[in-house]
């Protein structure tokens, strides 16, 4: 692929530029190299500046807030690590972390199962391939707010198509308020998130399957491997790198998810769907306990960074 050859070129040219055979450039750089470094920095500096101002500063400020008992106006009482101690010993917060982890794991498993299955089907030579792919991508194109609304409508006790369908085949005889029932509400937000998000995994897996050389399947077939064994020993290992990256990214993504859950259940009934983003949102903007909410957010940040570190180790080095 282009990237590897590019890298080769870069190495070749750096070798000619630094003929001392050292992997690193010599301490005294040539004027040309200095000029190039300056040019590079000039290109990058506007974005760097914006990120310092709009990402690094707010981030640092958020951490700063977490050490204060504050209403963000006139009350700024330094409390040190009090809120951190409170948060990690607060059963409500810990429960919301557990709910979030379970939610993320279920959603991602759903994405993997549905996404990979459909990718395998789409990668075979079925008829109407293009049409099916277009239909199956659809959920990805709906804004999260819209997905939440569609599923609110489906699960609505009076207007919902689910009650109508179940009622007409005789499975239920009353109007079930799905989103008012803890277990069903959790199942509903999970289902909505799986519906919304599987196309991304499907597209990634499809691209991955198409990059697996055909002769590997032929070799496996010669060895007598049937369809399932081919999937198990050729497709899955070929997909593993992509799916690994997808899992980490998805985990971080769904771990901090807010919109669909908030709009479908507001974290309820009681706290059955109280994911950590909603917990933080409520602590900050309904209880106005900003310092405490900030400390919870920092804890979530650390959990996400933990996954970011894993992600960095998963991405091959030549991506950087």
């Amino acid at each position: 692929m282009a990237a590897t050859s590019l890298k080769g070129d870069a190495q070749a040219s750096s070798r000619t530029r630094f003929p001392n055979g050292d992997a690193r450039p010599p301490r005294r750089r040539t004027a040309a190299a200095k000029a190039r470094a300056r040019a590079g920095f000039t290109f990058v500096s506007p974005a760097m500046l914006v990120m310092l101002l709009l990402v690094v500063y707010p981030l640092a400020y958020g951490i700063y807030i977490s050490f204060f008992d504050t209403n963000l106006l006139n009350r700024w009482d330094f409390v040190g690590l009090k809120y951190y101690a409170q948060s990690i010993s607060d059963p409500g917060f810990l429960k919301s972390l557990v709910i979030t982890v379970v939610y993320a794991i279920l959603v991602i498993s759903g994405h993997l199962i549905v996404g990979v299955t459909l990718a395998v089907v789409l990668a075979s030579d079925i008829k109407g391939n293009v049409l099916f792919r277009a239909v199956l991508i659809l959920p990805w194109l709906f804004p999260e707010v819209v997905v939440a609304m569609i599923f609110r409508l489906i699960f609505d006790p009076v207007f919902g198509i689910l009650n109508y369908a179940l009622g007409s085949v005789g499975l239920i005889d009353t109007q079930v308020a799905w989103l008012d029932h803890p277990t069903w509400a959790f199942a509903a937000i999970t289902g909505a998130a799986i519906w919304k998000g599987y196309p991304l995994v499907m597209l990634l897996a499809l691209a991955g399957l198409q990059s697996i050389p055909r002769d590997r399947y032929e070799a496996a077939a010669l060895d007598g491997a049937g369809r399932f064994l081919q999937f198990r020993y050729v497709s899955l290992p070929g997909l593993a790198p992509i799916l690994g990256v997808a899992v980490i990214l998805e985990f971080v993504w769904w771990f901090k998810h807010f919109t669909i859950v908030w709009l479908m259940t507001k974290g309820g009934p009681v706290d059955a769907t109280n994911v950590v983003s909603i917990d933080i949102y409520r602590t900050a903007f309904q209880s106005f306990d900003f310092g405490r909410a900030a400390s919870m957010a920092v804890i979530v940040l650390f959990i996400c960074i933990l996954f970011a570190v894993i992600y960095r180790k998963t991405v091959p080095d030549d991506e950087i």
């Binding site: 040019a39 914006v50 400020y61 709906f142 597209l203 807010f258 919109t259 970011a308």
Partner: protein, 279 residues
């Protein structure tokens, strides 16, 4: 995209899987469309009408007459288009710089770009609320623009960096042999070639902003400043939900994304999978 390896022939069971999956996708979508075409009276029919007897566009009109959806849509367009344009300029420059030059801090910057994707938005929303309040940008489009570029610039830069790396460096070298400086090489030689990548990146920035809900919910307050997702979200806040209007509004907010995808499908999918797959 290469159309090489098909993984095995089609098993009859595959069609069953596909039919099931398509039904799961299309049922909610069709229910949404059907509901949006109903009159208020038809909403309450028991059993529910699968398709309205006389489909009408009443709901599509009344979201504009009964609610400030014209404002919501204008706000969304102004905020998201501005943020997209700004991010595209910054990230194209940065992506080119990162892909072509070595300078101190480059590795750290790339690492931070990746890391910034991990920040929980709910974490940044608290400091942003305070910062915007202090700056007097609460409840304003400008405040939202600033907020949105803070999360579109990092991932746009990452995407553009990936795209520039796929453009052979020989072209830069040829241009510099012809006497072009870095700026001229970039503008006259590389930028035209990067156009497809810029289109895909811009669309992703647009989609991200267009879908954003949490920041807009917290940073805006008055009806004249709210964006489309917030407007849709609050339609359900009342006791009575006008489902036909809610679904009509939902369809409005989905149309731009559908159009983008219809026309730019190839760019979008290839840029999405470019980083993940090597072929």
């Amino acid at each position: 995209m290469k159309s090489s390896a098909n993984v095995g022939g089609a098993h009859p069971l595959f069609y069953v899987v596909l039919a099931g999956a398509c039904a799961m996708v299309l049922t909610p979508v069709l229910w949404m469309v059907s509901t949006s075409l109903k009159e208020r009276t038809e909403l309450f029919s028991d059993p529910p009408l699968l398709w309205p007897e006389s489909p009408s566009l009443t709901a599509f009109r009344s979201v504009f007459t009964d609610y400030p959806f014209a404002d919501y849509i204008t706000n969304s367009l102004v905020v998201v288009l501005t943020a997209t344009a700004i991010s595209l300029v910054f990230s194209t420059l940065a992506g080119y710089g990162l892909s072509r030059f070595h300078f101190s801090g480059r590795g750290a910057f790339l690492g931070f770009l990746l890391l910034s994707q991990m920040f929980p938005s709910v974490m940044l929303v608290i400091p942003y609320f305070k910062i915007m309040k202090t700056a007097g940008l609460l409840d304003s489009r400008l405040g939202l623009i600033v907020t949105y570029i803070s999360f579109t610039i990092p991932f746009c830069t990452w995407m553009m960096y990936g795209y520039f790396r796929s453009i052979p460096r020989d072209l830069d070298e040829a241009a510099s042999i012809d006497g072009c400086g870095p700026a001229r090489t970039f503008i006259t030689v590389i930028l035209p070639l990067a156009l497809p990548g810029m289109v895909a990146t811009a669309v992703y920035a647009f989609i991200t902003g267009w879908n954003e809900y949490l920041f807009a919910l917290i940073l805006t307050n008055s009806e004249t400043q709210k964006t489309l997702p917030v407007g849709i979200g609050q339609l359900i806040g009342q006791y009575k939900v006008e489902w036909n209007e809610l679904m009509a509004a939902s369809i409005y907010s989905t149309i731009p994304l559908m159009l983008f995808f219809l026309f730019l499908q190839r760019y979008l999918i290839s840029s999405l999978t470019a980083g993940a797959v090597k072929d």
